[in-house]
Amino acid sequence: MATSPRISTHTRAGTRLWRVFADHAATVAAVASTILVMTPLIAIFVYLLYKGASSLNLAFFTQIPKPVGEVGGGMANSIVGSAVLLGLASILGVPVGIASGIYIAEFGRGTRLSNTVRFTADVLNGVPSVVMGMAIYALIVLPRKHFSALAGGVALGIMMIPTITRTTEEMLLMVPLNVREAALGLGVPNWRSVLAITLRTASPGVITGCMLAFARVAGETAPLIFTAFGNQFWSTSINEPIAALPLQIYVYAISPYDDWHRLAWGGALVLIVLIVVSVALVRYVAGRGVLKGAS
């Protein structure tokens, strides 16, 4: 089937020429598309560094936004706000995500229930973030009648769950059965064997998953618009609207003021550095083959 009549013993020069030409054309096209894809990436980074670095100064990290019309100010409250939101999200998302991963891999392996849970996690992963924000608005903001950091944290936390669940599951599946049997053979209770032996063996991979989920939600803006709402002032209370870096970048980017554009670029640079560092760290850890010793 895979061999079509085209590759028979054609010896006519024209056909051969055409085939060689098609081969070269395909190579050129593949190389060209790779270059074309790399261009925007490099352009984004160059502009971020160029425009962002020039607007970063001490005030950026220590001051809160100035009122409209005044030059200067910073994003200190947004950086702290993002930290609070991500902390809340991690408190919710990491334990639930890891526990569901453990259930799928250790308790329900191969059962219909765990397959369904895995599928649901994949589906949840694809839910648009703006819809997630709207659902949390209906669930938490409407009954409490005010925007809050708590609602934002919950929205981000829910978005972390599927990624963590799936990576935890995959990493646990890579732990060989012998390790579990050895632990059980020593009379270790199952729950301890799962936590202290299996999960521990897979921990570098699990941490990778958590970092990826963290990096993903760190830049989420849409779910925060109707939950955390943003705040021009200092606030670390989880019952108050809170500022967040991506939200502030959005507000500044669509504003008509040049100075705010400058701050938006600075904020974007900080955000990207945060995310790239965590992704690179993850790749470094994962690339060293931490699980090789176990398999």
């Binding site: 639930v96 526990a99 589906v123 694809g126 819809v131 849409a222 618009i225 980017a253």
Partner: protein
């Protein structure tokens, strides 16, 4: 509860040398084990806890669906299915129709796919089949980095770099050469459907290309060797040996990219123009389902307005769930060791 087989303490026969006929005194091993107490309760509790967390994922999806349905009841009752075919969007007089947003979402996603799919497949072909080994790692890392950039940063870049570029350079060229198609009509604002499609294509490229790479690597090597042994050139090998066998997975990857494009919010909101009109020109401003929610939800003052926006969200939720489920199934069918067709 399927957790029973593993609960309780395992008692390998080797640990119990005292056979039933032996003295009642337990062996040292057994005595040690018994001194640690029974773990059955702890095990069951732990298993139950894990199950609870797993079930919470269901609960979340069901809860989201329930909230969205119950909060959009007002417009569902008032407009029915006509909501999705109405062209009016008038919050003041309470007349809502979602057609402009559906149109904007679909058109911008299609534009994104048209741009992204050939490029993504090209990148995947280059990385799996042609690239020197030295370059493979860094290039794959770079494409993954594209996936890690937050939407709002893409939006920022698009507003200040891409839109001016389109307005000054690309759009005049398109108007000059392709105006006869009716797709590129002035006025040329820079922002609009085309800008949204281009930024979307950059955003969905990494996911399509990394999944395509995955399914292409799943094609067995024997397949490539067989085609090469028949005298095929490298491109013919890729086309017949690899792409043909991976095509279902590639379609899955494309659909997954579509799912992303449909729900993408921030970057689109920043460049699509945000006006609920249906225009056949790609250079005209539009509106998408996600961006109307992002823009107007906080301003929705009365219940009907809010309900209309939530119904748009509900539609988006259901569509993305269907699209994602379909895509996952297609990708699984290939990467999960499905029999290779044609061999």
């Amino acid at each position: 509860m399927q957790i029973t087989p593993k609960t309780g303490r395992p008692q390998p026969p080797a640990a119990d040398p005292s056979s039933p006929s032996a003295a009642p005194k337990p062996s040292p091993v057994r005595a040690f084990l018994q001194s640690r107490g029974n773990s059955a309760i702890a095990d069951r509790t732990f298993g139950g806890l894990m199950l609870l967390c797993a079930l919470s994922i269901f609960a979340i999806v069901v809860l989201i669906l329930f909230e969205l349905i119950s909060r959009s009841k007002l417009t569902i009752d008032k407009f029915g299915l006509g909501f999705f075919f109405g062209r009016a969007w008038d919050p003041v007089s309470g007349d809502f129709g979602a057609l402009p947003f559906i149109y904007g979402t679909i058109v911008s996603s299609i534009v994104a796919l048209i741009i992204a799919v050939p490029l993504a497949v090209g990148v995947a072909v280059f990385l799996t089949e042609m690239c020197p080994k030295v370059l493979r790692g860094p290039l794959a890392f770079l494409t993954e980095l594209l996936a890690a950039i937050p939407s709002v940063v893409y939006g920022l870049w698009a507003v200040f770099i891409l839109v001016p570029l389109l307005r000054e350079r690309v759009n005049p060229l398109l108007i000059k050469t392709l105006r006869w198609t009716g797709l590129f009509e002035p006025p040329n604002y820079g922002i609009g459907m085309l800008a949204a499609g281009v930024i979307l294509s950059i955003m969905i490229l990494p996911i399509i290309s990394s999944l395509t790479r995955e399914v292409m690597s799943a094609v067995p090597h024997a397949q490539r060797e067989a085609v090469l042994a028949l005298g095929a050139t490298r491109w013919e090998m890729i086309r017949m040996g690899v792409l043909r066998n991976a095509r279902i997975g590639i379609v899955g990857a494309i659909i997954l990219g579509l799912g992303r494009a449909l729900g993408e919010t921030m970057a689109v909101t920043m460049v699509i123009g945000n006006s609920p009109i249906i225009s056949h020109s790609l250079l005209a401003p539009g509106y998408s389902m996600a961006s109307v929610i992002a823009n107007e939800f906080n301003e929705a003052s009365d219940d009907l307005y809010r309900s209309a926006l939530i119904e748009i969200g509900l539609a988006l939720f259901i569509v993305t769930i269907i699209v994602n489920a379909l895509a996952r199934m297609l990708v699984w069918a290939v990467t999960r060791g499905a029999p290779v067709r044609g061999s």
